[in-house]
């Protein structure tokens, strides 16, 4: 599936398959985003879910949603805390969490809804140090793959105060990105049969690509294919980042296999003796 990363000037027009990374500046900004997102889902007859740092925070974020209490009472809107949702039985287990969402989508359909719409402030997970960050990245990749295949619309909310170093990698794992006025350039997609980079990777994305790629690769030794067929541009810094990611992964027994790079990309890759494999 071709996914050219796109920006999002306003939070409307989203539908099933959309997986958005949205950075917010404060509580009011967060609430605006959540309400706009869920309000649209209500109009589309979707099941709604809001996830906040705590149940209180989640409730506060939907305070401006018309008929909030009725929606909750009628089972149309679920309100959860990051702790309940993502850390049931301990830390976030990416594959289990994705299955929970898959079940939630099915439950929504069984109740006659058209799909599931989620607004989740997962800032806390990204604050949990490098180990937590790795788990979150692995999870976002799987979630992206899920959203591509079921009637689900996901808005992942991150506090802009996390800063570009933490937000850059996680944003890459979303096909739709809103990080202030920064133009989204690249998407590291878990949507197809293999991991794929699309868009453009230049020095502004390079470090984030390395981090995200190494984190989503996991620890299972073997060959990891990265498909560059839909990548339109790769500069020297981007090629260096891929070479460094390959080195990081080799240390874990994972062989990075780059495929599908067209001529311009090959010129950058060969500066680092990075071979492009046949598929």
């Amino acid at each position: 599936m071709v996914t050219v990363p796109r920006g999002l000037p306003s939070l409307t027009g989203l539908g099933p398959g959309d997986h958005v990374c949205w950075s917010f500046s404060d509580d009011a900004d967060l609430a605006r985003a959540v309400v706009a997102h869920l309000e649209e889902g209500r109009r589309r007859d979707e099941q709604l879910l809001v996830v906040g740092a705590s149940r209180q925070a989640a409730l506060a974020a939907v305070a401006g949603l018309p008929d909030r209490d009725a929606l909750i009472a009628g089972g149309r809107l679920d309100v959860q805390a990051t702790g309940d949702t993502y850390a049931a039985g301990g830390g976030l287990v990416p594959a289990e969490q994705v299955e929970r969402y898959r079940s939630a989508v099915q439950a929504a359909l069984d109740r006659g809804r058209t799909g599931l719409r989620v607004a989740a402030d997962v800032t806390g997970l990204l604050r949990a140090g490098p180990a937590g960050r790795r788990v979150l990245h692995a999870y976002e990749r799987l979630a992206d793959g899920l959203v591509a295949t079921v009637p689900m619309t996901a808005l992942c909310l991150y506090d802009a105060a996390l800063g570009p170093e933490l937000l850059g990698p996680v944003a890459l794992l979303h096909p739709v990105q809103h990080l202030g006025d920064r133009e989204p350039l690249a998407h590291l997609s878990g949507r197809g049969p293999r991991l794929a980079l699309s868009g453009e990777v230049d020095l502004t994305e390079a470090a984030a690509v390395r981090t995200a790629l190494v984190d989503v690769a996991g620890d299972v030794p073997g060959v990891l294919e990265l498909d560059l067929s839909d990548l339109d541009f790769l500069d020297v810094a981007g090629a260096r980042a891929l070479a460094l990611a390959g080195r990081d992964l080799a240390g874990r027994g994972v062989a990075l296999k780059v495929t599908g790079a067209r001529r311009q990309l090959r010129r950058s890759l060969e500066l680092f003796d990075l071979a492009v494999a046949e598929r």
């Binding site: 133009e183 230049d202 541009f233 020297v236 311009q264 950058s268 680092f272």
Partner: protein
């Protein structure tokens, strides 16, 4: 008879770079055969990359010893443009370095005889600085019957050693690599009045502008233009808050100029130094290798680089 010393006082710890010019076959044989045999005596790998004529002369004179050469390759197939050739060459040198403490090479850059191959003199000059610590003797062979006299003058200024009949000696015409590059790059003409300089502050903005500036006749070069211009803008933005971007056509050549008011380039030969996968920024190399030619003007008031793209 004076004793011949084919590599003089070279001790095998760093690059020795000799430009040898011959006008008849006997002179060539006299120079190269002892050079090869000395290498065999010292147990050094000896490599020969030369044109057909030189190779058949050496084959006839080396006889059975020919099989002892570590390489005996045709130079005609070696040329891939200046950057491609030097890149492949630098890779071969890295491999050799892993296999032997020192070695010697007799090489005939036959492409110097062709108009398109003349840019090689700039790479020969830069090799003196960027390959200085590579432990080999490079004996460069130039046939005065093939190579034009003005190119032979460039050979002299880009090779620190020459041959006096019995030993290598300093070449009096040798010049600093940066000076050679300055002298041999395309002339710096005035920018046409219609070619306005646009300031850009991000690489992505530069890429969008560059893509839009490629004329229809150069469409096939668009990826090259965007990637090369991008790397120059990245470099400019490392030293200045904005980069100036200008494009124009001169006949059927598209010119891309990227300027900045940074402190100037410490090393203006950068675009000719082959990439080492282990270290160093390589944007200049990539930019210059994607273009057909390049010129730089740099000083304390700033730097401007021009890239030239044929249709």
């Amino acid at each position: 008879m004076t004793l011949m010393r084919p590599t003089g006082s070279w001790d095998g710890t760093r690059l020795a770079h000799e430009g040898f010019v011959f006008a008849d076959d006997a002179r060539l044989v006299e120079r190269v055969v002892p050079f090869v045999l000395e290498g065999f005596r010292r147990d050094e790998p000896v490599l020969v990359v030369a044109g057909n004529r030189v190779r058949s002369l050496l084959a006839a004179h080396l006889g059975a010893d020919l099989g002892r050469l570590a390489a005996f390759d045709a130079a005609e197939t070696f040329w891939r443009g200046g950057h491609g050739t030097l890149h492949a060459y630098a890779r071969d040198l890295r491999d050799l370095r892993r296999r032997a403490p020192s070695w010697r090479l007799a090489a005939e850059p036959v492409w110097l005889a062709r108009e398109k191959g003349r840019e090689w003199s700039r790479f020969e000059a830069v090799a003196n600085s960027c390959l200085d610590d590579v432990p080999y003797y490079s004996l460069c062979l130039h046939d005065a019957r093939q190579v034009p006299a003005d190119v032979l003058a460039d050979v002299a200024r880009s090779h620190p050693l020459t041959w006096d009949g019995t030993a290598p000696v300093p070449q009096p015409a040798y010049e600093d690599p940066a000076a050679v590059v300055r002298a041999l790059q395309p002339p710096w003409t005035d920018r046409p009045g219609a070619a306005a300089v646009t300031p850009v502050t991000t690489p992505v903005a530069a890429r969008r502008r560059l893509a839009a500036a490629v004329p229809a006749g150069h469409r096939a070069r668009r990826d090259d233009v965007v990637a090369a211009g991008h790397e120059l803008v990245v470099n400019a933005l490392r030293v200045a808050p904005w980069a100036g971007l200008a494009t124009w056509t001169d006949g059927d050549v598209l010119v891309v100029e990227v300027s900045d008011d940074g402190p100037g380039l410490a090393d203006q030969t950068q675009g000719y130094v082959p990439p080492d996968p282990e270290k160093g920024p390589r944007g200049m190399w990539l930019a210059w290798s994607l273009a057909d030619d390049a010129a730089v003007r740099t000083g304390p008031a700033g730097t401007a680089v021009r890239l030239f793209f044929g249709a």
